[in-house]
Amino acid sequence: MNLPGIEYLSLGLGIVLFLAGLWGIIHQKNIIKIIISFSVLDTSIHLILVSIGYMRNRTAPIIDSAVSKTDAASQVVDPLPQALVLTAIVIGVGITALMLTYALKLFNEKGTLEIDKFKSLKW
């Protein structure tokens, strides 16, 4: 059986999770649920980014005894996407936290977390 490489698997997984998260954002009425969905979406993006940065049969971009400095360019995976993901994770948490702050404030204002109840502004 010729299975696809893990980078493709995880990429596919990421895309499915992305869609699932998006679906949750669109479909769930509870604000906390929306935020949870967003966090799923966020994770899925990280997964996608890491998997497209992966190069088969290479090792982690850490220069130690296993990988010499001189061979690094041909032996390790591209470190840049990983650096991006690190940043993205931090940003994602920040945004999740901000969303939760909003959720809390919204709840304090109106005593509910139903997003349909916050439609005073329209048109």
Binding site: L13, L17, K33, I36, S37, V40, V77, V85, V93, L104
Partner: protein, 83 residues
């Protein structure tokens, strides 16, 4: 090849968790489910030769996020006695 099977199994679990996270009525369960997705993702990162990302994801994406969620959920429950 063994990695592949592990990834497939983890992927299935993650999808189930995603379903749970989105559809489970209990918010706490949902939060934990989303945390598990994050955690499993960090395992996959290791397979994908990204250990540093894996560590960050586990610590921040999974642990810290869940903590924040619970903090806020707590606050909401405190003010809302009915739930």
């Amino acid at each position: 090849m063994s990695y592949t099977f592990i990834v497939i199994i983890m992927g299935i679990i993650m999808l189930v968790m995603a379903f749970t996270a989105i559809y489970h009525k209990n918010l706490k369960v949902a939060v934990i489910a989303s945390g598990i997705i994050s955690l499993f993702a960090s395992v996959i990162y290791i397979f994908l030769a990204a250990p540093d990302v894996a560590i960050t994801e586990a610590a921040i994406g999974s642990a810290l996020t869940v903590v924040i969620f619970f903090y806020v959920l707590n606050k909401i429950r405190l003010t809302d006695d009915t739930k």
